[in-house]
Symmetry: C2
Subunit: 327 residues, 2 copies
Amino acid sequence: MATIQEVAKKAGVSVATVSRVLNNSHTVKETTRFKVEQAIGALNYAPSVLGRNLRNSESRLLLVLIPSISNPFYTEIINGIEDTAIHEGYNIMLCETDSNPQREAIYFNLVRNRMADGIILMDPTINRNNVLQLAETHPIVQCSEFDKEGHISYVSINNELAAYQAVKHLIKIGKRKIAFINSDEKFLYARERKAGYEKAFNEYDMSVEAKWMYNIQKLNFESGQQAMRTLLNQADRPDAVFAVSDVLAIGALKEIHASGLNVPNDIAVIGFDKISFSNMTYPTLTTVSQPMYRMGCISATMIIKKIRGEKVESMLLEHELIIREST
Amino acid sequence: MATIQEVAKKAGVSVATVSRVLNNSHTVKETTRFKVEQAIGALNYAPSVLGRNLRNSESRLLLVLIPSISNPFYTEIINGIEDTAIHEGYNIMLCETDSNPQREAIYFNLVRNRMADGIILMDPTINRNNVLQLAETHPIVQCSEFDKEGHISYVSINNELAAYQAVKHLIKIGKRKIAFINSDEKFLYARERKAGYEKAFNEYDMSVEAKWMYNIQKLNFESGQQAMRTLLNQADRPDAVFAVSDVLAIGALKEIHASGLNVPNDIAVIGFDKISFSNMTYPTLTTVSQPMYRMGCISATMIIKKIRGEKVESMLLEHELIIREST
DNA sequence: CCTCTAATTGTAATCGATTACAATAAATCT
DNA sequence: AGATTTATTGTAATCGATTACAATTAGAGG
C-alpha cells in the first residue's frame, strides 16, 4: 500500500500538503489540491488510520459490551448506537462478554491500550470494582443496566414503575396468583422489577408468596420453560406469570401450552422488552416496551461527549405497556 | 496515561528494555525484569496498541460484516468467530451493513486504512465488483454466502442438497402441493435452494408451479406472514411450505394458525437454520441445521491464515435435517 | 589481572500520519 | 518598483511503540 510519502513525491509536494488535502484544509491552492488528488487516485492511496490515530491519540472506536448477542433485546439498542456513532465519525466494536471475567479483562484492556476511546457497558455482571476503577480514568457510560451507587452516567428506564404497571395490569384483569420469573438478583433490573412486583401486591393487599417466585440462571427459552414447569408442578398453581424478559415469557408460554392449559384464561403471561418474536407467539405476548433504539442513540451520544470531555447527565426514558393476547 | 518512556525512566532502564519485558523477550536479566515490572505496576501502565500497531503495521482487528444482527442465524457464527479470534490474539469488529452501500464503503475503508487486518464477509448483497477488487489487495473470506465465480475463499454448506432433502422429506410424508418461500434470488443460497427444490420436484415427476413460489424482500417475521397470507388466498392452497429461513417459516406458521388451519395436517412447514426460536414455536419447527459455530471458527481461522500470508482452501460443511412437529 | 566470549542493555531509526513554525510565493499598497 | 501583507507550501518534531545494531557488563579461562 502506498504511504503519504509516496503520494507527496508523486505529486511533487511535501507530505504536509498531502495531509492538508486529506483533511481538506482550506489553505491549499486549487491547482495543488488537484495534483495531489491525481496522485492519490493514481496510487490508490488510502491514509493509514494507524499513523493518524497515534498522532491524534484517539482510535475513534467505541467499545460496546453486551452479555450476549443472542438476546434480541440488544439488537435495537445496537442499531441506535451504530447509527449515531457512524454519524459522528466513530465505529463500534461489539463485544460479547458472556459474563466471562477473562473476556472482561481483554475488552477493558482495549480501552487502557487506547485501541478504543470509550465503553458503552450493557453487561451488569461485570466486576463492579473494575468498572468503577476504569471509569476513574476512561470514558464509560452504562446502558440499560447501571450502578445506582456509582457515579457513572447511564441511560435506562424506570424498571420498578414498569414492573408495577405490568403486575397491576394482571391484577386488573382479575388475576391474583401472579407468579414472577426473575433473573438473578445481582442485576439491578431484577431487583427493581421485583420491587415493582411487590409494590403492586402491597397496594392490593395481596401477600407476596415465595412459592411463586422463581429466579433463573441463564436468560434463554429453556430457563423460561424450566421455571414454568416448576411453577406448574405446585399444588396451588398460579393464574398469571410476569417474566422479566420476553425470552423467558416465551419459554413459559411454550410450557403452559405443553401442559394443556390455556393462555390467558388459565394463566395470563406478560413479558418484558417487546422483542420482535413476541408478536409471533401463540398467543401474542403482552409485554413492556423499552425505547431501545433511542437508548442506543443516547448512550452513543453520551459516550462521545464524554470522550470530548463534556459533561453528560444520566437519563431515564419512558416505557410502555403493550397489551396483546396473552393477558 | 503513562508511556513506555516514563516506565523506562522510573525503572532506570531504556525503553528498549521495557519493550523487551513487555514482549517477554528472554534476553532480559531477572532482576531488571523485576524492576521494570515494579515500575509498570506503580505507574499503572498499559502499552498503547496504537504505537505498537503502527510499528508492526497490523491492527489485530478482524472485520465481520453481517447484513443484520437481528437475524439469530448469525449469532452462533459470531460466537465461533469471536472464540477463535480471541484465542489467536485478534479482536473482532462486528458491523451491520444493513445492505447499505454507504456503510459498505465505510467498512471496506477500515481495511484499506489498516484499521482492520481482514474481513469475514457474510453479506452477499454487497457490490460484487467492490468485493472482488478489495480481495485483490486485502484478506477476505466469505462465510455462508459466497461468490461461486470469484476466487475468494469461503466456508459454507451445500444449499442445493439441503433444500432437496428438505423438500423430499415433505414429499415422503405425503405432501404434493409444496409452496416455497424464498429470499431474493440475488442471493446464492436462494438460487441454490431453489435448485434443490426443483430437483426434488423433478425426481417425483411433480411440476413446479409459479403460483406456489413467493420471493420476500426483507428477511423478517412479517415477510413470512405476508408470504403465507398470499399463498393461502389462492384457490388451490398448498399443503406444505418450505421456507429458506426459520424466521420466515415462523411467520408462516403464525399466519397459518391465524387462518384456523392445522400444522402439520393441513399444511406442513419446514424452515432453515435451526435458530433457537424454532424450538419454541407451536408446533415446533422442522428445519435444516447448519454447523454455525464451526462455520464461524473456520472462517476466523481462514482469515487469520490469509493475513499471515498462508494459503487456505474453501470448505463445504455438513448440514442436518431436524424433523420436529411441524412436518 | 587480563582476554575473550556471552549475556544484557542502550541508542537511534522506524512505522505513517499531523501540525507548529519557518520559508517562500503571490497579491496589494505606496 | 519596492515594501508590506497575505496566501501557500515546506521542514522537522511528534505521537508510542519495536528492533537492528552498537555498546556495555558479566563470566569463564588462563
